[in-house]
């Protein structure tokens, strides 16, 4: 045993004043008794018979000296040398990927085990050793920079939280190497990776200035996972579900695969998945009009198979996105209009013959080009080009010859990119609609009116397209696209799919009528995104369903769902690996004795000192209670 700060032993000199104080301290109470003859004889006998009684009277002094000795020793920081994994400059990289949630180790998860090992390494740090703690997840994180402060390092290790993501090892190793370079290039860095070996795709090993060591955690590889879950829309048929269950263990596994549709249990079936095999499940019996499907794997009560990673036993899928909006175009034949509708995404045009009248209802959008049914349909939005007769909604007047300039409402978001400066117009109709806003105006009246009546979005183009060169201008598809987007705004998420991997960053869209976005995470916490911040949501570390809501003054105007599922064979294959292959490098398991570490003993000494202090307090308290006892 040696001391790190032997000078602290000088604190032991405090024992001299303690003894002096003790000698001066004891003031005895004087009491006159008839005779102290008996007391004198008694004490003579007692001291003669039991010499230690004199010591016992000074028990408090002895205890105080013992406390001082213990504290002095603790301050001197004694240590014993122990075998350690590494020494010098150490970077400990803790794997916090999804597979580290596996519970195949005693007492918690693999991550807990990894933390314990990291703390073991901290405990055997030498006095001059420096260490950094890096958490490897989708985004690597430096939990503690290079320091010799064991308490800070321990706290950093304790603060490492598990994730459901795949770890980005390249980034983590680069971060560790960069931190080492920043410290001192001369010192070689030992990097200790505490992981179960599921490194995933760490193809290119960054240049690492030092040795790599690997401490494997984990014992078993038994895991069943839902590797895929998706829905698919089929024309004129209910949507179809596809799921895949994979068995990553070396033994056959029984499981109950259950499906919940919008929270209600729909099916639950027992399957046997062969060892190292997978089972695809295709279900066509999905009800129409559902929103969410939740799939889960449950261990049958009589199955001996233990699934060590529960994270990948649950997955979510959303209903397939609905088809493009159906638009009915009633026109005598307008090539420009049909052409432009065909190229605008998100809309599926159907042509009707005005001579035969309205072919039916059920369309999302009705486009009337120079024709109007007797009664305007109310189940879809309306775009009326060159209206013919007045209706209760609008008044149609006579033709007006175009003169002067055309003004576009620049302030309106629908008109942002619409440029009418080059458009020539022959004549237009005087159309009045009090509920509508004039988006494009000529001197005599409105050219484009748009507004909403009883939930129906209606736009009126008050001229015949053939009376202008608009269809030949670039402004025409821009205008039509703006209008179509106004009729049917796109999803809040700017992505084609509704299911993502953990850690994915989502670009979000703020609808024109909203002023904020709110995301409700699977655990119920909420995040608010305002237009001022970048509308990118990357906090997708949790698995499950996320609800996205667009808010206007606190009220929800639009909402959408998306799911985050693990679906990562690298994380689901939890069998621990004894060797780590990183790029082309094979990293062996770290041996037990590689370096000499120091295990400090001060905490035990300080604890002992505290205990003695408590005993001293009890003794003192007992004595003072005796002294204060009432005279009987």
């Amino acid at each position: 045993m040696a001391f790190l700060t032997p000078l602290a032993l000088l604190v032991g000199l405090l024992s001299i004043p303690i003894i002096l104080l003790y000698m001066l301290r004891l003031r005895r109470r004087e009491i006159v008794v008839s005779s102290n003859l008996l007391w004198r004889q008694l004490l003579q006998d007692r001291e003669a018979n039991t010499p230690w009684q004199r010591l016992r009277r000074n028990l408090l002094l002895l205890l105080q000296l013992l406390i001082l000795a213990l504290l002095t020793l603790a301050l001197a920081r004694p240590y014993i040398t122990v075998p350690a994994v590494s020494a010098g400059r150490i970077a400990v990289i803790l794997d916090a990927s999804a597979s580290m949630n596996a519970t195949d180790v005693p007492d918690g998860t693999r991550l807990d085990d990894a933390k314990r090992r990291a703390i073991d390494i901290i405990d055997t740090m030498g006095a001059d050793d420096r260490m950094t703690i890096i958490r490897a997840a989708a985004q690597p994180q430096v939990m503690a920079g290079y320091t010799g402060d064991r308490a800070a390092l321990r706290a950093a290790v304790e603060s490492v939280l598990p994730s459901s993501e795949s770890a980005d090892w390249n980034a983590a190793l680069t971060l560790a190497a960069a931190g080492a370079l920043g410290e001192s290039a001369a010192d070689a860095v030992s990097m200790i990776i505490i992981s179960d070996g599921g490194l995933g795709r760490a193809a290119d090993l960054p240049p690492i200035p030092g040795a790599l060591r690997y401490i494997p955690v984990g014992q078993a590889g038994d895991n069943l996972a839902i590797a895929a879950l998706a829905t698919r829309a089929q024309p004129n048929q209910p949507p179809q579900l596809f799921a895949q269950i994979v068995n990553y263990s070396d033994q056959d596994a029984d499981t109950i695969f259950s499906l919940r549709i919008d929270g209600a249990l729909a099916t639950a079936e027992r399957y046997t998945i062969p060892a190292r095999g997978s089972l695809p499940i295709v279900s066509a019996a999905l009800p129409a009009g559902f929103t969410v499907i939740e799939a889960a794997l449950t261990r049958p009560s009589n199955s001996p198979f233990v699934d060590h990673l529960p994270t990948d036993d649950r997955a979510y899928a959303l209903a397939p996105q609905t088809d493009a909006r159906r638009a009915l175009v009633m026109t005598d034949g307008n090539l420009f209009l049909e052409q432009v509708l065909r190229i605008i995404p998100g809309i599926q045009p159907f042509r009707g013959d005005p001579a035969l009248g309205l072919p039916g209802t059920g369309y999302d959008l009705y486009i009337f080009d120079g024709w109007q049914p007797p009664v305007l349909p109310t189940d879809g939005d309306l775009l009326i080009i060159n209206p013919t007769v007045s209706t209760p909604l609008f008044e149609v007047g006579g033709l007006i010859d175009m003169s002067g300039t055309i003004r576009v409402q620049r302030g309106d978001p629908r008109m942002t990119f619409v440029d009418f400066s080059a458009v020539n117009l022959l004549r237009y109709k005087a159309v009045r609609a009090p509920w509508a806003e004039a988006l494009i105006e000529a001197d005599g009246g409105a050219l484009l009116l748009a507004g909403e009546v009883a939930g129906q979005q209606i736009a009126l183009l008050s001229f015949d397209l053939r009376d202008s060169d608009l269809p030949l201008q670039i402004a025409f598809p821009v205008l039509m696209a703006s209008l179509i987007e106004w009729y049917a705004p796109p999803s809040l998420i700017q992505a084609a799919e509704t299911a993502f991997r953990p850690g994915a960053a989502l670009a979000l869209r703020l609808p024109p009528n909203a002023d904020a976005l709110r995301v409700t995470l699977p655990d119920g916490t909420r995040r608010e995104l305002t237009p001022g911040s970048a509308l990118v949501f990357a906090e997708t570390g949790q698995l499950g369903l996320y609800r996205l809501e667009a808010l206007r003054a606190g009220a929800v105007v639009e909402s959408a769902l998306f799911a985050v599922n693990l679906f990562d064979p690298n994380e689901s294959a939890i069998a621990p690996r004894l060797e780590l292959t990183l790029g082309g490098t094979v990293i062996p398991q770290a041996g037990a004795v590689e370096e000499i570490g120091q295990r400090e003993l001060w905490s035990a000494l300080a604890l002992l000192g505290l205990i003695v202090l408590l005993i001293e307090w009890a003794v003192y308290h007992r004595r003072s209670r005796l002294r204060l006892a009432p005279v009987r």
Binding site: V33, N36, L38, R57, R627
Partner: protein, 307 residues
């Protein structure tokens, strides 16, 4: 003064008592006790052969007529008893004084005064030759450090006796050994010696006791202790000041030490009893929380000192 020391009912009880010394046989004058000697009382005791010179009035003529042998009638003799009451009036008797040492109702000297007065009263009522002596510091009144009352005989001395006892006070350091030896040397008549003391004497009292017994006295030792001395109410780190010598003894009293002290007091009393028994003296341990008249009426009676 009588009322201060004892009340009427106690006095009546005391009047029926008589001090008795079984081994002292040397009455000086006619007293109320039956003597082992044949004497001149009216009570017939025995016959013996006539010897020339006997008083012819004592000759039993009836026997002479019947047996033709001259026999002289012997009568019981009655004699007095010399009673020596010795009181230790040292400062240690002045305890407890109501301070931290204990409550004043257990005051040893007051108790001893009552006991002394009771015994003296019994002695006076039985026409004994009474000597009361209080050992105190040598002072202006008495060169040998003792206050004396008597010799006195008869109830007539009662008031003076009680005044003497009431006027005593306990103070100073007394060498009990020396005082007893000195008293033994001084006494002429053998008798009953009652010593009332707490026996807290550094030099002991064995030599004094030996001197008294050697002189032919019958000694009764009334060992008076306050209950606070038997079961001390002391705890903690203390400095005990001896009331007689003024010497200090530092002591840290805890429960264990108090137990030891209690045992020590028991041992002390047992050793005193053994010493007294060896010398043929009576030993009566008394604590001041008992009734003082009970000591006279029961404890001394049991030992035959009082009949």
């Amino acid at each position: 003064m009588t009322h201060a020391l004892f009340d009427d009912s106690t006095r009546r009880k005391l009047e029926q008592l008589m001090l008795h010394a079984s081994r002292v046989r040397a009455g000086a004058i006619k007293g109320e006790r039956r003597s082992v000697k044949r004497g001149t009382s009216v009570e017939f005791a025995d016959y013996r052969n006539y010897a020339p010179g006997d008083d012819l009035r004592r000759l039993d003529w009836n026997i002479y007529a019947r047996l033709e042998r001259p026999l002289t009638k012997l009568y019981e003799d009655e004699e007095d008893l010399a009673v020596h009451l010795l009181l230790d009036a040292s400062a240690s008797m002045n305890f407890p004084d109501g301070g931290e040492g204990g409550s004043a109702e257990h005051h040893k000297f007051a108790f001893a005064q009552r006991l002394l007065a009771g015994l003296a009263y019994v002695s006076l009522t039985t026409d004994d030759r009474l000597m009361v002596t209080a050992f105190t510091v040598p002072n202006e009144r008495d060169s040998d450090g003792a206050l004396h009352f008597g010799p006195a005989r008869g109830r007539g001395y009662g008031a003076a006796l009680l005044k003497f006892i009431g006027g005593l006070e306990a103070r100073g350091a007394v060498d009990l050994n020396a005082a007893l030896k000195h008293y033994a040397l001084r006494t002429v008549r053998r008798g009953l010696v009652v010593v009332i003391s707490d026996l807290f004497a550094p030099s002991g009292f064995a030599d004094g006791l030996n001197a008294l017994v050697g002189k032919g006295h019958e000694v009764a030792l009334l060992h008076v202790l306050a209950p606070e001395e038997v079961e001390p109410p002391l705890l903690g780190d203390l400095r005990l000041i001896d009331s007689e010598t003024g010497s200090a003894q530092e002591v840290s009293v805890d429960d264990g030490l108090r137990d030891l002290y209690r045992r020590r007091v028991e041992q002390w009393r047992d050793s005193l009893r053994m010493e007294c028994r060896r010398r043929g003296a009576h030993y009566i341990p008394v604590t001041t929380d008992q009734a003082w008249e009970g000591v006279i009426l029961f404890d001394l009676r049991k030992l035959g000192v009082i009949k």
